[in-house]
Symmetry: C2
Subunit: 389 residues, 2 copies
């Protein structure tokens, strides 16, 4: 039998308990939960087939009462001794995509990011478009290319046309970028023809992951009018292997920044779901940004209410991401296009002046939040390395 | 035993053989094929578990050699006598969504439609944007709200702001529209980091369906800048229950209209996949448009090559649609916003002057194409009725 020691200050103490899907050495994928530097095998520990699945979907579909019950049971069990076969050092397991992604939506909920991108993409116009403060702008992305942290990212090719070129050419992206985001995972879906109220957010959303929405800015700039980003984003979207349950984020809840004009009634109601989460963006080993989630204009409860206000159903496994998290200060910007102002103001990274991603670069995004009862919890990280085209 | 009689002129003779998923009275969903006015149960006839599935996905994933083999075998079998339990009148079965939709992409491949929408949405600018003739513009839609023909469509609500209003309001869409499209269904996927060449189209795409991309124009107009259509489209997309195999469309293959400027090399190669398919749009029993697919600027082979040119993988069950099919003449326009010029030029429908959809309206889109060896084949129809919000 094993008792897991949780060191003082661990980001993975009993107030966190993020879920994952992992393969133990020689074993099949199953659901686990992280405690300190161990992964606890829930298929073995809880003896329930729902955790012997290669994704969290079946468990997530069981609903909030069950999520709470399992969380309580895990808290009891991991405080006591566990069978040796149920506990694996995190370094010895293979972490997998934690859920089957149904639909993937990406929002654009940071006022600072939307304003910066507006200035860069449409220099002659107002940076924020007229609809931006009335609704959480979003679009659908490609769910089939959501990959787990650690997956190498092949540099995408595509059509791009610089403003000083007459015609587009096909080739490798020269302006490959990241977007540091938070993603929300739907556990319990909704029916076609109905809407999810802001106040019902916690009945539907199971947890949160870190997202790196890799972006080829040159492909995006040429293609995105009038139907939005497509191939500039669809080559890969990385997520962290850990799904932090919404219950672990209770202490992180804050008011969103003031919303003016006041949102329409369907975007109000329920308690606030602003989140005081600190992200860190590390590029080739050097921290280049600390985006603050608390600055996000629209809350994830408002995003889900908007997403369904037209009667669109949501499903178990739906992932919706916040959009790039950027704060008002330069070092709080969650994309390199903002940090380097469109590539015109290079930054110092590990001793080099850098703008966009080069082959071989590695980016790791991590985050922490206040824990219930004090201390902090961690999201782990979403990491990816750029391979040549 | 039963021998299916195929009447002279049937759109569902042995040169068509479209697949479906159906439930016979009291039975579970399984794969069938249509012959004349009958559905042949392939789980019973071919005694293969892949046809006892509630979707075509497992069969579609088996690849083109197998598709051809099964098509030949079906052709032999249905020419002879079949067990009574294997044959059902189409009117007595429940037709279901024929495949599990993985990712859904919608293109914008009609020059006439894109020009018309450009004039209507951006009256002060060039109707076609600079990228349009260089690449098949497209975007991701919501796969979770793709529904089978016959599903009622609840009028969506959402934010909309008329140009003469100061602020948006939330309420029922007042400009609910259709888009008559053709959709292509991926059978064999591709790997992340690789691209599908134009010439490999037929190795990947299993068949075609009719699509009605219901569109709330008022919601769309307010939300779509800068990230593209979202809630104006995501409430429902209807498809026909019949998946017409690409092999049945060999006789319909034509050259696309001249493409000038010549497309980049990745959008060339392989034989032409323009398609001579005639659509018909029937509104409350009256035909209001006959969109010609042969006018589409970009071919489905080019769409798939573009979709994957950045290394994005595709998967079994991916659906990509052509975008609204509109020809150069007024009665060839596949959306009411074009037929009625933004609602300013009502048309006569069943004795009434009409612009957009009213509650209770029903729209049925059908299509036919030349059959191999003469005659024509049919796509059946995609039908939907509007229910009040």
């Amino acid at each position: 039998m094993t008792r897991i020691a949780v060191p003082e200050g661990s980001l993975f103490g009993l107030t966190n308990l993020p879920y994952c899907v992992f393969s133990p050495p020689g074993g099949t994928p199953r659901v686990g939960v992280r405690v300190a530097d161990s992964v606890v095998d829930l298929a073995v520990t809880l003896r329930d087939d729902v955790f012997a699945e290669p994704s969290l979907n079946a468990f997530m579909a069981q609903g909030r009462a069950r999520w709470n019950e399992v969380r309580e049971r895990i808290t009891e069990l991991v405080s006591a001794e566990l069978p040796d076969t149920a506990v694996h050092p995190v370094a010895e397991v293979r972490l997998r995509l934690p859920f089957e992604v149904a639909d993937y939506v990406d929002f654009y909920a940071s006022e600072h990011h939307a304003s910066n991108l507006g200035r860069l993409f449409r220099p002659d116009a107002e940076p924020l478009l007229p609809n931006w403060k009335h609704l959480p702008v979003g679009y659908h992305g490609r769910s089939g290319t959501v990959v787990v942290s650690g997956t190498d990212i092949v540099r995408p090719s595509g059509q791009r046309k610089a403003p000083d070129e007459d015609t587009p050419t096909f080739g490798e992206s020269r302006r490959l970028d990241i977007e540091a985001e938070l993603g929300f995972v739907v556990g319990v879906g909704s029916e076609l023809g109905s809407a999810v109220a802001c106040g019902d957010f916690a009945e539907h959303v199971f947890g949160a992951v870190l997202v790196n929405d890799w972006s080829a800015r040159d492909i995006q700039a040429w293609e995105y009018v009038p139907l939005g980003p497509f191939l500039g984003k669809s080559f890969a979207t990385s997520i962290s292997p850990w799904v932090v349950p919404m219950a672990a984020l209770e202490e992180a809840r804050v008011e969103t920044p003031p919303q003016d004009p006041p949102p329409l009634p369907y975007l109000r109601g329920g308690e606030s779901w602003g989140l005081d989460i600190d992200l860190s963006v590390v590029w080739n080993g050097e921290e280049v940004a600390r985006p603050p989630y608390r600055e996000m204009y629209w809350s994830p409860a408002q995003m889900l209410a908007h997403l369904t206000c037209n009667g669109a159903s949501c499903r178990t496994g739906d992932l919706y991401a916040s959009g790039t998290i950027s704060g008002p200060r330069r070092h709080e910007r969650g994309a390199f296009i903002e940090l380097t102002w469109g590539g015109k103001e290079p930054i110092e990274v590990a001793g080099q002046r850098r703008t966009f991603l080069l082959d071989g670069d590695e980016v790791a995004i991590s985050a922490t939040a206040p824990a219930v009862g004090g201390g902090r919890i961690g999201f782990g990280e979403v990491r990816g390395r750029i391979l040549p085209a």
